[in-house]
Amino acid sequence: MTTTPTEKTANTPEQSGKKDAPLLEVRDLHVEFHTRDGIAKAVNGVNYSVNAGETLAVLGESGSGKSVTAQAVMGILDMPPGAIPKGEILFRGQDMLKMSPEERRKIRGAKIAMIFQDALSALNPVLSVGYQLGEMFRVHQGMSKKDAKAKAIELMDRVRIPAAKERVDDYPHQFSGGMRQRIMIAMALALEPDLIIADEPTTALDVTVQAQVMDLLAELQREFNMGLILITHDLGVVADVADKIAVMYAGRIVETAPVHELYKRPAHPYTRGLLDSIPRLDQKGQELYAIKGLPPNLLRIPTGCAFNPRCPKAQDICRSETPALHQVTEQDGAAMAGRGSACHFWKETIHG
């Protein structure tokens, strides 16, 4: 990974001591929104970390806080009404929440970039895509308009947009959905960041195009050895690309696991419910299992475990005590690497 040496010198003493430190570490992050109806607690103590070259998938339904966490990491949260009362976001060991806006601006785009869900609304409709791609170079690196345009063409080639040279002056509406998403990816890659956050990058696309885009993303990630945070609600997409998974529910991480483990042996009733409730392509089942009820209102999160009103296993303790993220172990007590479950009854869930 090539990082510009000038920027690195500033942090060298910090970094040399933390060679093995993860690229990004989120610690006990809380985010809330102050609304007329009260305080909506969107994120309630999230911890996760990503290393270079690794893909972390954050899985959750709408309102689970997965996108808000990503926005807090990027520093694009609307504040107010949003607020971060507690927590740390460490990028290469440095807490970004304590940085000045100017310092954060240097990281945003250059070191951590984001791919948004809806490419049509994320791109500016009145500027050509070449101009928007070149903006990264002009603003961050002070390039001339001409050089920036040449760079933009190069980027479009790299994400395999055919006839990049002719299309660089086209506007977003002239591209198809898959092509627009490629432009979003090109924009995120422009400054060769260390970490990319992809917020539902393929949700708006058709399956055949989705496969193309995910393939491209995985290939570029390997090429640049980037960390990738993939935010999605699609259990299928996650199975295809992720290394490890964090499942979110009502602003907390309820389960973490390496990808194979999660699908084979879920340790949280919510994860199990999700896996059971999706129909399979390769077999025709009977009635689908459905998680009863609805995701909670973030203004009134249930006490204890937030999942308790919908959980088939809920007992009194679930209604009174919030479960911590327990280390998941094998039946003989051996710890399972990277696995945690925020359920009082994780043992029963995983070992039956």
């Binding site: 609600h233 129909p279 392509l281 025709k284």
Partner: protein, 376 residues
């Protein structure tokens, strides 16, 4: 011309009713259909949207061929899934079946009556029996109407179904049927979650006791855990009210789960149609194979054994579709023949007469069986 010959042949199996007066037509429409008999027969349905140029003197410069010769049967009590990518014309088919759009040509026979030619009272009677559930529960419910008014509105148009004094009770019954609290009758749509709103949309679809419900992407706007609830509800209602569904969706896993038969559409035409096992386990059209292989399977181990076919490029414009087979521009099997001859939707010759699940209708010159769903 070959085209007309094909049409006659396709029509020969339709039992066209000879009712002529409105009263006769209505009598035909009210007659019940036996389970397993075709209730809806679609023949060579075409819808072209004109492309015009000029402001004052508009002249037609072309047409978007949204639906271009689609034929299929819907049997009583079954679910027919229609899958395809965006822009393939599946929603236009839904609108044509509902007669919300007028077909450019082709016929839709409901109980032997061509509904594309009906009007007035007879059409109204047909519409009572074919209802629709829409994709987006956030925009398909009027935010200024209460749930009671929304579900009861069909009774204003078809007062014979529920007499005036009886309506409130009927609406409450319907709410109960779809699993909502009947006391919610005076609430507004914004007070409900996405899944509950979709239930309201389903209750409205059920209000007139229809025989056919056309569902256009009914669960794609919902969260995973809520999707399963709505799918289960729809299956329950089908048994309870003896409904036939046309289920349009882009999610192939859900379509497999709910459908008895599945049709795959590409650029305004059906590429392949058959029972769910025929399509999913023995696909013979390259497009179906590519589509199925692109679906991410929520099982990392099964994924490793699967072959993935990644198509290049995008769907061509329906205003200017490729000659011959429409899929040939993205097909890895394409040869000269594919550019010249339009493949007919029929059982491919290689499989004809053989008792294999691969012997189902597929519109490909080089149809070949290939299992892409199961791990090797």
């Amino acid at each position: 011309m070959a085209e007309t010959g094909m049409k006659d042949e396709a029509l020969s199996d339709v039992v066209a009713s000879d009712a002529s007066t409105t009263a006769e037509v209505e009598a035909v429409l009210d007659a019940p259909v036996e389970r397993g008999e075709p209730i809806l027969q679609v023949r060579n349905l075409v819808k072209h949207f004109p492309l015009t140029q000029g402001v004052l003197f508009k002249k037609q410069v072309g047409a978007v061929k949204a639906v271009d010769g689609v034929s299929f049967d819907l049997y009583q009590g079954e679910t027919l899934g229609i899958v395809g990518e965006s822009g393939c014309g599946k929603s236009t088919v839904a609108k044509l079946l509902m007669t919300l759009e007028t077909a450019t040509s082709g016929e839709v026979f409901y109980k032997g009556q061509d509904i594309t030619k009906l009007s007035g009272r007879a059409l109204k009677a047909v519409r009572r029996n074919i209802q629709m559930v829409f994709q987006d529960p956030y925009t398909s419910l009027n935010p200024r109407m209460t749930v009671g008014d929304i579900i009861g509105e069909p009774f204003d148009i078809h007062p014979e179904v529920a007499p005036k004094g009886d309506r409130r009770r009927r609406v409450q019954e319907l709410l109960d049927v779809v699993g909502l609290n009947p006391e919610y009758i005076n609430r507004y749509p914004h007070q409900f979650s996405g899944g509950q709103r979709q239930r309201i949309g389903i209750a409205r679809g059920l209000a007139l006791n229809p025989e056919i419900i056309i569902c256009d992407e009914p669960v794609s706007a919902l969260d995973v855990s809520v999707q399963a609830q709505v799918i289960n509800l729809m299956e329950k209602l089908q048994d309870e009210f003896n409904l036939s569904y046309v289920f349009i969706a882009h999610d192939l896993s859900i379509v497999r789960h709910i459908s008895d038969r599945v049709g795959v559409m590409y650029l305004g035409k059906l590429a392949e149609i058959g029972t769910d096992a025929e399509i999913y386990d023995h696909p013979t059209h390259p497009y179906t194979q590519a589509l199925l292989s692109a679906v991410p399977v929520p099982d990392p181990e099964a994924r490793e054994g699967r072959e993935r076919i990644i198509l290049t490029g995008d769907v061509p414009s329906p205003a200017n579709p490729p000659s011959g087979c429409r899929f040939r521009t993205r097909c890895w099997k394409a040869q000269d023949k594919c550019a010249e001859e339009v493949p007919v939707l029929a059982v491919p010759e290689v499989f004809a007469g053989r008792s294999t699940l691969a012997a189902h209708e597929s519109a490909c010159h080089f149809a070949e069986e290939k299992d892409v769903v199961h791990a090797a």
